[in-house]
Symmetry: C2
Subunit: 213 residues, 2 copies
């Protein structure tokens, strides 16, 4: 089983502080989005990296539609800057339209689950990254340009927890270097989250699914 | 070198026939999008599968941000239902925001190139899939659930042309089965275009980049 954790993801509701700003008021969605709220975000701490639901969306489309997930061997978690952890039911068909995805994330962050009734497809809980990682079995590999240069295929183990940053620049906010068994770099440049996600998933598949007799 | 061809992609400007429909008139973008124009599209031939710029967008984000592209070993082409071929400069940083991506595609389909002046990042030419494939060197592998079940790693060759359908359901519109050297299925279910794109790219990288001395 691979557990995939998108850590310190830049996904959040619009902070109170900028809710009245002209560049924010005109939109119906309450999810912070740097491509819309750029001007208002200049006054926010860490404003240069926040408001990136697009990174979460693309990473989830890559992960949830993978062969690994279809084979039932993948669990995906989104941990956010605000210490919310989104648990995703592996059966979830991720919404492809970006606007609708943001609507879903808003519902999730405001109400804690989607859909409101019946079996949850996604659930949001107040949890730190440490609290999440404690529960997951497997070797904890943190991906970071600061890590030891390694080949994805070599480091993959059958039970593995892959921790990938869900932010566009900078470093992890959570004290994640203390929680990992290994810190690994797969390339000499910073890669987008979904590129690391796809490298991890396909390398795992090739090692543990396709090459098995 | 890998040439990646998204074939018969469901990317087009809004057809004249439905331009006046109430579910179309309210939007500024002139790119057909089934998540917005669903009602109007019922009267279009093949309306059930058309208007999927999201599939092209996600596939391009996966391809252009890959390690393979950063290493200069990938060329990407989008062939559309209307027999336009979009040539993408490997240096292009693909726009992450979906709304802006559609704006770019509109500009490209209306004016033929982006940006208007200077070195082109993307160019749209009137070409059939056959005309494009004639120009590309390498073994032509067509991915289709109808193909022979094979492992991605085994079929990859150093010079290869991967042909992947850029549509959500159904079969290729172009006579592509006659143009391919091999028709291959990598999974027993239909996969989204970007899942096949990532499987092809990472398997190629593992075979020809990471495992080289």
């Amino acid at each position: 089983m691979m557990h995939l954790v998108l850590a310190d993801s830049e996904l959040e509701l619009i902070p109170e502080k900028i809710a009245g700003h002209p560049s924010v008021r005109g939109y119906r969605s309450r999810i912070l989005d740097s491509s819309l709220h750029h001007n208002a975000m200049k006054s926010l701490e860490d404003g240069y990296r926040r408001g990136r639901p697009d990174i979460v969306h693309i990473s989830l489309l890559v992960a949830m539609e993978s062969i690994l997930n279809r084979e039932g061997m993948l669990r995906v978690y989104v941990h956010t800057r605000g210490d919310t952890v989104i648990y995703i039911n592996p059966e979830t068909r991720m919404i492809k339209n970006y606007g609708r995805f943001k609507g879903l994330m808003q519902q999730l962050l405001e109400r804690g689950r989607v859909p409101s009734n019946g079996e949850a497809l996604m659930e949001a809980r107040n949890e730190t990254l440490a609290q999440l990682l404690e529960k997951l079995d497997g070797r904890k590999i943190l991906f970071s340009p600061e890590g030891k240069r390694s080949s994805m295929e070599e480091i993959m183990e059958e039970d593995v927890v892959c921790i990938i940053g869900g932010f566009p620049h900078g470093d992890f906010l959570s004290p994640v270097y203390d929680m990992a068994d290994e810190v690994v770099s797969i390339y000499h440049e910073m890669l987008p989250a979904w590129t690391v996600v796809m490298e991890a998933i396909v390398s795992y598949e090739n090692k543990f699914i396709f090459r098995q007799p």
